[in-house]
Amino acid sequence: MSLLDKRLVVVTGKGGVGRTTCAAAIAVAAAKRGKRACVVELSGMGSVPPLFGLEGRSFTFRRATEGVYVWSLTVEECLDDFGRRKLKLPSLMRKLFQTRATRTFVDAIPGLHDLLQLGKLENLINEPLPDDPRFDLFVVDAPATGHGLTLLSSARSMSDVSKAGPFHDLAQIIGAFLEDGNTTGVAVVTLPEDLPVSESLELMAELRAMGLPPSAILANKRVPPPLEGLMPLSTVDEVIRPLPHGAQLLDLLGMAHRRAEAQTEALDRLKAEAGAVPVVSLPSLDGVPVLPKALGPLLAEAL
């Protein structure tokens, strides 16, 4: 099943690999297939809207481009949602959620923020109310901390703390929701470099152990060898070396070539270890105004 046919995609990966850009590109790819997709931010950082040239954060969902929306979820609204839908508390009682004491309490429970936010998405997907926005796909940009595992293991960590009661029930629901491969997919973003590839292979092993095997791997910022498919380096060397200052030019060529070769090796290793999981290589693009719109069609083609 293609990643783009899921209802929820959690995008994981270490900081600096372009995780947020890839999350936005996945939404664009889904939109290319005629779906209505929403990129969800859980951190309140507001880093998604600028990727589409929008200003400010979007605490309510907002159109970014054809078929793509952006939404920054707050813990407050997700807590309120939990009280309303799962606990069926009246709004007067939910007002007490907004007190400082409740907030301190909610902050003090590990994984609760993550769980409440995933809970809201689960509600929107599995039990939508008439006034809820309808999306075919939610793409969640997982926080960089712990490469996104903290978010995905929030259900498990809550089960450790809470053996019974509403949080326990919520954790059970979210655990099953995440493990349902027909609904939820995990995308791992990495770079085609030695170290990031090793780290993402470790991440994939951990995801499998959690019962959340990745549905796709995105190797971002690929720079192909400068003369790929044109001419062997040795021939170029023979022609250029005799020229005045030819050696300096060959040095530059050699450096660019080595950088690309290292990427090729890393990519090959990633593909060999990934088995049946599709590995999509995304190019490093300079001077593109809206990066997700350039990368989205490539993903739509590959997934």
Binding site: T104, I109, A144, S157, V161, L227, Q248
Partner: protein
Amino acid sequence: MSAARVEVCCGVGGTGKTTTSAALALAHARDGERVVVLTIDPARRLADALGLERLDNVPQAVPLGEGATGSLHALMLDRKRTWDALVSEHASPETAEALMANPYYQAVTTRLSGSHEYMAVEKLHELAVAGSWDRVIVDTPPAQHVVDFFRAPERIRGILDRSVMKGLFGGGGGLRAAATRSTLSVVQRIAGEGVMGDIRAFFDLVGEISPGIRQRSAAVAALLRDPRCRYWLVSDADAPERNDLLGFLDELRAQQMAFAGFLVNRVQAVPAGPFPDPDAVRAAAPGPEWARVADVLVALPEAARRRALAHRAASRQLVRDAGGAPVWLVPEVTGGITSLEGLGRLTPFLPPRPPTSL
């Protein structure tokens, strides 16, 4: 405060902070100092590069080779063990045992966000006052915002501080207490009695150690503000994360903490040249397919120069926005760092060598 100098490497994830911390440590050790580097989330390769089997929660000696006058030790933060040590230090054996068996304690120590940062600072304090080191170098946990490093300890203290929770669980009277009790009833309803029981037990136990922890956190806070403790901002040449870095700098300055400078990784060197005349390259055609090859070749020096200049311009802008600060540009190393020699290739471009003039 001991005589140890402290260098804290801050920055968002993916900028090469861990490697930079290790290279800084190596540079100072080679200058004859007794140096220890605390890493947070090291890739296995860093241990290999340092010639160690594995990194542990206690400092291990890195073999520097013949004739070295200084020494280098490395350790990796183990959150759980650092928490346990802190608790054992401040609580009676019975309390410590009960606390460590509490499910909520286990979740707080390993999963609560901010716990990682707080333990890094705690470990840093332990190393700084030990008296065994001339210099302590600290890598910081990967965070979305660099300021999280300073805010998290406060947050953890806030959560551990019994007075915050006392209102929720303790008695008392009056209108405010009544309001708190109604909040408690809501909280109880959303959380369930099981969780509340564990949490109540946790805070009862924490009550015993909280004066000790509060005292310790005051000492840690004083260390972070001591002029001997300096902060480096590590960034990547291609993704300088300007706003985040400048936000962090504002925070440092507002707190009167010592900012030491920017360390910019993976900088493209300005191509030395001279290069062959483009026309000569085009004219060298050995066959019909040469035209496209020549296009690629003649564009290489310009592309490298543009990238090098863009890196420098971004660094200059960073320094200007920061209102002036020293900056070290560290060149890109192809093939990664796999040995102490590899790490040594970075040290000529890092402190204590002089900064780059832009």
